[in-house]
Symmetry: C2
Subunit: 397 residues, 2 copies
């Protein structure tokens, strides 16, 4: 068999694959599994957002099937720019927005635009497990900056400064609100990230997949602090909840968007049309505002239920997240008792108690004694039940 590329040889069974396997195991195990592993909401998008697409399909409009422009439908780019403004986010123009084919595609396109073999990328520890394998695929080194679990996973700014290197550091990757910790950057952290990146003349990629899910206080917009080096990534997988339809966007300086659109074209030619038509309706309908507020209320209640239930387990430390759909909880005492690691505990809880979680070690050294629990996929009552089952099991140890 002829040769494979270096990039492919760097890719092995990633954590994404392991998480998928856990998920499939949960699927097979049947309905009674408490799904605290999933990263996407269990609600469909509102019926009113789907209606125009259904109508167009019924009429047999051929335009529904045709290519969109490579950077996305013009009206959608406008709607996204307006939506960011409405959220008090960045004031970008439509040509500073590139519609892409989902969150993974946004990550790939943004990194492909700026990474070369041999360069370095700085990430937090823990970090969403999608980033390390991608960085390795591009032949770059990963530099991890520890965060403080005792302080809500606050970024250690000193460690951050010490790890960047001019000429070598090509990008800082920040997830905000964070997956897996739910941390939302405060003003001083945001300022520090920008200053450190400027000192190394590095890009800052800010993954804002959960930007509409902040429960208390506001969100800092890194882009506003330095539009020339900050690039934002977003996916519509969580809001309005169409993960399988593959749609997202990248925003940034016009020159970045022009270059990134070349990569988007080489990888995908154009983003999928059905998702664009659905999201165009979703973003431009006045009911969108109420829909998001309702989602936020629902998730906030679920978060509170999750944190409060976890806190009732003796010696478990659960950080109450200000955003996203995840709680990171430290189970170190029980790992010791069981003589296992977080991966072992996750498997045990799935097998013995029917509760699916994701091991903290998948995200980094800092959370190697933690589990990540999502509160997006189950209702409050189920969250209480599921965590109660974990508690009962651990109490018997």
């Amino acid at each position: 068999m002829p040769l494979f590329s270096k990039g492919i040889r760097a890719l092995s069974r990633s954590f994404t694959v392991l998480v998928d396997e856990l998920g499939e195991k949960s699927e097979r195990a049947g309905k009674n599994i408490y799904r605290f592993d999933v990263g996407v909401p269990g609600v469909a998008p509102p019926a009113w957002a789907v209606e125009p697409l259904i109508e167009a399909l019924r009429r047999g409009d051929t335009s529904v099937y045709s290519y969109s422009p490579g950077p996305g439908l013009e009206e959608l780019r406008e709607a996204i720019a307006l939506d960011l403004r409405a959220m008090k986010g960045p004031r970008v123009s439509p040509d500073e927005v590139l519609v892409v084919s989902g969150g993974q595609h946004a990550m790939f396109v943004a990194l492909a635009s700026i990474l070369d073999r041999g360069c370095e990328v700085v990430v937090t520890d823990p970090v969403y497990f999608g980033y390390p394998s991608l960085i390795e695929y591009f032949g770059c080194s990963i530099r991890r900056v520890p965060t403080d679990p005792g302080k809500g996973f606050k970024i250690n700014v000193e460690a951050l400064s010490s790890v960047v290197r001019r000429e070598r550091t090509r990008a800082l990757v920040i997830v905000d609100p964070d997956n897996p910790t739910g941390r939302v950057l405060d003003k001083s952290e945001a300022r520090a990230v920008i200053d450190v990146a400027a000192s190394a003349d590095s890009w800052v990629l800010v993954d804002e997949a959960y930007m509409t899910l902040v429960y208390e206080g506001g969100k800092e917009w890194l882009f506003d602090m330095d539009p020339s080096r900050v690039v934002g990534l977003f996916t519509f997988s969580k809001d309005p909840g169409i993960p399988g339809w593959r749609l997202g966007f990248i925003y940034g300086a016009r020159e970045f968007i022009e270059k990134a659109s070349l990569v988007a074209r080489e990888t995908m030619y154009s983003p999928p049309m059905p998702a664009q038509l659905l999201v165009l309706k979703y973003l431009t309908d006045p009911r969108r505002k109420e829909f998001v507020e309702e989602a936020r209320r629902t998730y906030r209640a679920r978060r509170d239920a999750m944190v409060s239930a976890l806190s009732s387990i003796r010696s478990v430390q659960a950080y109450k997240p200000r955003g996203s759909i995840f709680v990171m909880a430290d189970f170190s005492e029980y790992l010791e008792r069981l003589g296992t690691d977080s991966q072992g505990l996750a498997r045990t809880l799935l097998d013995k108690v029917g509760v699916a979680t994701v091991p903290g070690s998948f995200f980094g050294e800092t959370t190697k004694t933690h589990l990540r629990l999502s509160f997006a996929g189950e209702a409050e009552e189920r969250i209480k039940e599921g965590v109660e089952a974990v508690k009962e099991f651990l109490d018997q140890l």
Copy 2:
């Protein structure tokens, strides 16, 4: 502004962009433009193939919105494997099929799996303009093998042998049926491609986007001649005609598919669900056979109309294609008279006669005096009218 990657710096305004601009110009010019430039059919997929998707959307099934497995829905991979058999094509198993997000994604994933900076890729001249920019993005050199316009663009096997180099040639790219020439490989050409690739231990990528559109005789299946080095690419953009929905597949040896699925995952996570549901229904419905046969009859009649109309223009040489949706025609005498090149002639015909074509120079040196005319987007009558208008214009020169 911080640095961009080498890959992005290699990408400039590609022919794809130029073709899109021509297309947009045609759109703006209004309804009366004869669209011989388009690479996709002007017919929507059959209503019966869309119906199950519409029903699922109406019911609000959340499963319609969820991720599919990274390599595609299991049932769809099975349906594709069965469909290939039914066409007397390769006998592959479902795990030798990788569902990807359209033809461009198939090309990207296949090349990303095997190319490293500095290696060489052999293509025919002319070649579909999507390949050269992609090969440059990966930092590889392009070696072009001339074809013979006088013999239906038959591949020059001697030139092919002389251009491959062990250790350097990583892949041969063959489009079959060909875009832009409509050539369908005969047995001896197919054999030669395989032998030459084996001599250099190189991969063979065979782009079979138009595999269902062969009008006379059969099609050779390179994969059957050497399953260990041949990888097939397909897009559902032409059949059943859903270009904007982004779906295609790659087939090949299990090991290749496993590696390629890692790249597919890193770039897109999973292929879009709406397209998968539509194509699953399309491939597994008994009406599919009749639908394709009808499409083939329609296109054959359009091809005959196009070739016969072109042949009525004095000194224009039009090659009658055995497959695909394109006719390549040599206008060299008129280029001389107008003192222009094929790009100039294409612009002139669009401006003066309202006929949109693609310049042959976009595909290579061999066809620098040609135009590529698609017969997929217009009905027979319009094809005759459009070519007649070209004839009248050229006669006056």
